[in-house]
């Protein structure tokens, strides 16, 4: 099956942005060769244990839609700032808002400003097939570069799949680089217009220099036929803050991996997420937080609500190096099963070599509290409303933490809509 992908890469490469750049062609070919050597990860690969990527192997996702599909109104949030729309993996100026000095599409930069992007295309030591394929096929993405001390405001990114032809693929590659003391908020959403299956395979590289602050929210609302995989790599320097929230409601099978390297003291990393699974969805979140340096805090707060025959998973690893004293790393994964046929897996993992740290994890899997359901009923609340109020309460405290009100409200509403449909 890898052959089909390799043929596709060969055919696609001349048309990819930056095809004229020798350094980029070399990197893409090397990535294709590594993919050919490894193939797709299987369930024996620990980091992919709970993911379901069989569909990628069964029939290849090797269809490229043209770049001029007609697209109607897009679901932007009413927030000021640059808006970038990518449709089936291609930047669409006609659908985007103002693109400003800091936030630009990768495809445009590869024509004008390509040398500065060489680092971004190094594979970062990542050997997974998904990242290799992204490198080989990356067609576009957001490049956000914020100079020292500047505030780039709020940037919205929509990753739109037309979903009108089966087996199409979009490999977006984002770069977010905030120099010392810079600030930005990035609001991402993936969404589909049609019902056909497609594969969205994104890589996002984030570099936060000293004292930089990035607020990053993401709503994976792909259609229920889609494969949605993403890898986010974050490097955090001293006093920098990375606050991330992911709402995951879409895709037949989704896998979101986030790796954070803490490389300076007094950093603040907050990773949070809510996964809402129904039908036969498989929603998998994998995090790896590496505290290389001490005196930093990290918090991971993940919730999953699983109904019908869906399966969610959270694997969260915290690594604290020998010298990373005074690290405060907390992790919480709570999971709520709404049906006996649903499944939630949670796997916290602490690997700690320093002796003066505060690290804790808590993981629970449970059902709705029967006593609370009766209490609500005894006060006149009908069963559907009682379930809704308890599930909403289960996820709301995590969503309430989102600093941008418009995003918080959109996510609370999405959760409410999901519940109304399920209960």
């Amino acid at each position: 099956m890898t052959d089909a992908y390799l043929d596709f890469i060969k055919a696609a490469q001349p048309q990819l942005p930056g095809a004229q750049l020798p350094w980029l062609s070399n990197l893409r070919q090397a990535a294709a060769a590594r993919f050919a050597a490894t193939g797709f990860p299987g369930r024996k690969d620990e980091a992919f244990k709970y993911a379901d990527l069989k569909a990628l192997e069964k029939t290849p996702f090797t269809h490229y839609n043209g770049s001029n599909q007609t697209v109607g109104q897009l679901p932007w949030l009413a927030l000021a700032g640059p808006r970038l729309a990518f449709v089936d993996g291609q930047f669409r100026a006609d659908l985007s808002g103002d693109v400003d000095v800091f936030a630009k599409p990768l495809s445009v930069l590869l024509i004008n400003d390509s040398n500065a992007l060489q680092d971004h295309f190094s594979d970062g030591g990542d050997a997974s097939a998904l990242a290799q394929l992204n490198l080989a096929l990356a067609s576009d993405g957001l490049v956000l570069r914020v100079p020292a001390g500047k505030d780039a405001g709020t940037i919205q990114v929509l990753n739109v799949a037309t979903g009108q032809t089966s087996r199409s693929a979009a490999h977006l590659r984002h770069l977010l680089h905030l120099e010392a003391g810079a600030k930005a908020s990035v609001i991402e959403r993936s969404v589909a217009l049609g019902e056909e299956d497609y594969w969205s395979n994104a890589v996002c590289d984030i570099r936060l220099e000293e004292g930089a602050h990035l607020q990053h929210t993401q709503w994976q609302s792909d259609n229920l036929s889609a494969m949605a995989t993403s890898l986010t790599r974050v490097v955090v320097a001293a006093k920098a803050a990375y606050h991330r929230f992911t709402l995951s409601t879409g895709a037949a099978s989704a896998r979101s991996e986030i790796r954070v390297d803490v490389r300076g003291e007094e950093t603040d990393v907050q990773l949070a997420g809510v996964q809402l699974g129904k039908a036969r969805q498989v929603l998998d979140t994998v995090t790896l937080l590496r505290h290389e340096v001490g005196h930093s805090i990290s918090n991971q707060t993940y919730r999953a609500v699983v109904d019908e025959k869906a399966r969610t998973a959270f694997s969260g690893k915290v690594y604290v190096a020998r010298d990373a004293q005074k690290t405060d790393a907390q992790q919480s994964s709570r999971n709520l099963l709404l049906a006996r046929t649903a499944e939630a897996d949670t796997k916290p993992e602490l690997e700690i070599y320093a002796d003066d740290v505060q690290c804790a994890h808590g993981a629970t899997v449970g059902e709705l509290d029967k006593k609370a359901l009766f209490y609500l009923a005894s006060r006149g609340v009908n069963p559907a409303a009682a379930r809704a109020i308890l599930v909403q309460a289960f996820v709301a405290d995590v969503i309430e933490e989102i600093a941008i009100d418009a995003v918080k409200e959109a996510y609370l509403e999405a959760t409410h809509d999901w519940l109304m449909e399920q209960l």
Binding site: D369, L376, N382
Partner: protein, 246 residues
Amino acid sequence: MLKITDLHVSVEDKEILKGLSLEVGAGEVHAIMGPNGAGKSTLGYALSGRDGYEVTAGSVVLDGKDLMELDPHERAAVGLFLGLQYPVEIPGVSNMNFLRTAMNSIRKYKGEEDISAGDFLKLIRAKAKDLGMDAEMLKRSVNVGFSGGEKKRNEMVQMAVLDPKMMILDETDSGLDIDALKVVSEGINAMRSPTKATLLITHYQRLLDYVKPDFVHVLADGRIVKSGGPELAHALEKEGYAAIAA
């Protein structure tokens, strides 16, 4: 108002209520007293329709409606209120949200419009004030971190807001100090009206010093074994259940 006839209730296949009959008229306050294990709490739960309390025989009619035909939330909607011995904590759900959802659920059942946010706020604030509950507590999660007395006071606020016609209060006095007991009693007394009725389920006579019952019944081994006026409660207190129920 409430007519219970030959009620048999089993919990996990063990018969707890063995033919209980009781009639509570409009405007009346009845007290059911009995030793531990007599089936007092089972009666409250069975009347409100809790899962696991299986009615094997008998009937319960509230204002002409057969309660056994209704789900728990429907029983509340037709005017039944059960004050719990151990009110449940619900993290993440504010008292406000809880009560507003309850009220609108009941209104929906009756085919009425939702109460407006403004009217609801006025109502709940007034009732909380009457019962001495701090308005800040209305924003807090239902019963989370509340003391025993605060939980029972919260039950009274819920009862006042939902305005039921048949109130069943299960050991509402248990675990309360004298001040909390007075608050709860005032809450119950404030609800006394010729169109409502109250059934107090209690182990001790103490509550009955504050809420004067019209009738007192003794429950033993799943049946009412003796009925009388308020004086029966005093006799029980003095002589004990064993002597009276024998």
